[in-house]
């Protein structure tokens, strides 16, 4: 465990010197908080239809609003859409970190001295994975907390806050986010082993975003309602996907494979 932590600290010291990585970890969350808060701010006091620019809120969603009516329901609808942003963060951040870290390791030719050291490949992989996933998880949680506080402050109502603190959100932020990060890291490890440009690795690995985007597109078009049971299912599926991806990544992360095939 000690050595995993040694690895993680090295990862952070190195990778955050890269301005792309630093940008995606530091500024993207700020942007992802600013956008929804800005929208909430601009629609204060507007009628729901005006606010949304939609002819109507999807009826399924109306049902979800329960005792919320009018503007509150519209706000709630928007806020639910914002959940997507908080599920994209745990994907984009680790993909960026892991891509730069692994491709960087190939570029600087540090893989061989690293593998010559008395550290197991599992410790190495764990170091790389945690180095990429932990910042994503913490940043997402931090951003979520700031967002909740900001939303309450802007709307001046505790109704929205109550919605944001529902199990749906908590589950998504606390469980689905980290699970997405693990999937993103595993994929980034595999992709990075095959390509020599961190941006390419990043873009390919960012495909993990597609299911998340799809889900919320579906909600926009009223095809699906991202409610608590959807999030629970998502978490369960992700557990399986993570297990499969991690197994593959571990298989790929063998000394001889890395040395002789990662070019």
């Amino acid at each position: 465990m000690d050595k995993v932590w040694v690895m993680v600290r090295k990862e952070w010291a190195e990778v955050f010197k890269n301005r792309f990585v630093f940008f995606s970890v530091a500024f993207m969350p700020l942007l992802f908080i600013a956008i929804p808060l800005g929208v909430l701010y601009s629609m204060r006091g507007a009628s729901p239809e005006q606010a949304l620019g939609l002819s109507e809120i999807p009826p399924e969603f109306m049902a979800l609003c329960g005792d919320l009516a009018g503007a509150d329901c519209a706000q709630f609808f928007l806020v639910s859409q914002f959940l997507m942003l908080f599920l994209l963060m745990p994907v984009i951040i680790p993909v960026t970190i892991a891509s730069y870290s692994i491709v960087g390791e190939k570029r600087t030719r540090t893989l061989e001295p690293l593998l010559a050291a008395p550290i197991s490949t599992l410790q190495l992989l764990a170091g790389k994975a945690l180095g990429a996933a932990l910042p994503a998880v913490f940043v997402t949680w931090g951003a979520y907390i700031v967002f909740v506080i900001g939303a309450v402050w802007i709307t001046g109502s505790s109704v929205i806050a109550a919605q944001l603190l529902k199990p749906l959100w908590l589950l998504a932020i606390a469980v689905v986010g980290p699970l997405l990060s693990v999937a993103a890291v595993s994929l980034a490890v595999m992709v990075s082993s095959r390509v020599n440009d961190p941006r390419v690795a990043e873009q390919i690995s960012a495909l993990v975003m597609l299911p998340v985007l799809g889900l919320f597109m579906g909600q926009t078009f009223g095809l699906i309602q991202v409610d608590q049971s959807v999030v629970v299912w998502l978490a369960l599926v992700l557990v399986l996907v993570d297990a499969a991806l991690l197994t593959l990544a571990i298989q790929l992360f063998q000394r001889e494979t890395i040395l002789t095939r990662w070019k």
Binding site: A13, T110, A117, P118, S120, R255
Partner: protein, 315 residues
Amino acid sequence: MTEHAIVVENLTKRFGKGEQAVLAVDNLSLQVRAGEVFGLLGPNGAGKTTTIRMLSALIAPTSGRAVVAGHEIGKEDMDVRRKVGILTETPGMYDQLSAERNLAFFAALYDVADIPGQVEKYLRMLGLWARRGDEVGEFSKGMRQKLAIARALLHEPPVLYLDEPTSGLDPEAARLVREFIAELRQQGRTIIMCTHNLDEADRLCDRVGVFKARLLALDTPANLRGQLFGRMVVFHLAQAEPRLAEAVSGFDFVQKAELIDQKLVVTLDDPEAHNPAIIRRLVEAGAELRFVGEVRRSLEDVYLHLMDKEEGNHG
């Protein structure tokens, strides 16, 4: 217990399968004594790096076994890695981190007890202390190489592998690295050094294995030279007369004496000891000597000779 730091038995590495299989290392057997500097000399693609990688438990041999510092590769890989320091062929460093941070990271991976102490010791020893805070990305090739050597030594490994330690360095940097290796030799570390630089092997190694997938010869540099050729002294004469060659052939320390144009070429073992006697006899025989010189057979000749033979064997 043996006094051998490294024992290699029938070590073989084949890359790939079927038609395209490459036999990188073929049935290599050798022993390296504790404290010895052993040179692995061979052309590019000879399998030197592959051998080093197997002996550092980085890649698995196809067959054969090896024991390094008392631990068998393939069975006690973690122990092997702990006992071994390696200067890899392409010594990578984290460019964005300082020299000090790079070393501290690796020291931690090797469970070095006094990390700042060891890092300082080797940074000073290799003349990099003043630049410790600078990002390695700004370092010259020679400085990086020195830093990589420092990294290989941080955990005070009893066995050290140096894979082409001076290749790609400018002459000045190469000289510094060679001097440092000579110092390490004094400290009694067991070193395997890969090189295709014959002069380097000649100067730094106790024994040299000439290697091209298979071991072609193995001995001290001096013996390798002597065994294959003896040493040759050339006497430039005013007139070449066959009887002069005959006169010299009479000595029992002379292996061969032949006239080539105006020159008498004599092959013998110890020219320093025997040249005066030869010169005396030539003068007594009426020869007029214009010039005496040695035909230096370098390790290079030995090497080229062996490689030629190897080519011949394989068509």
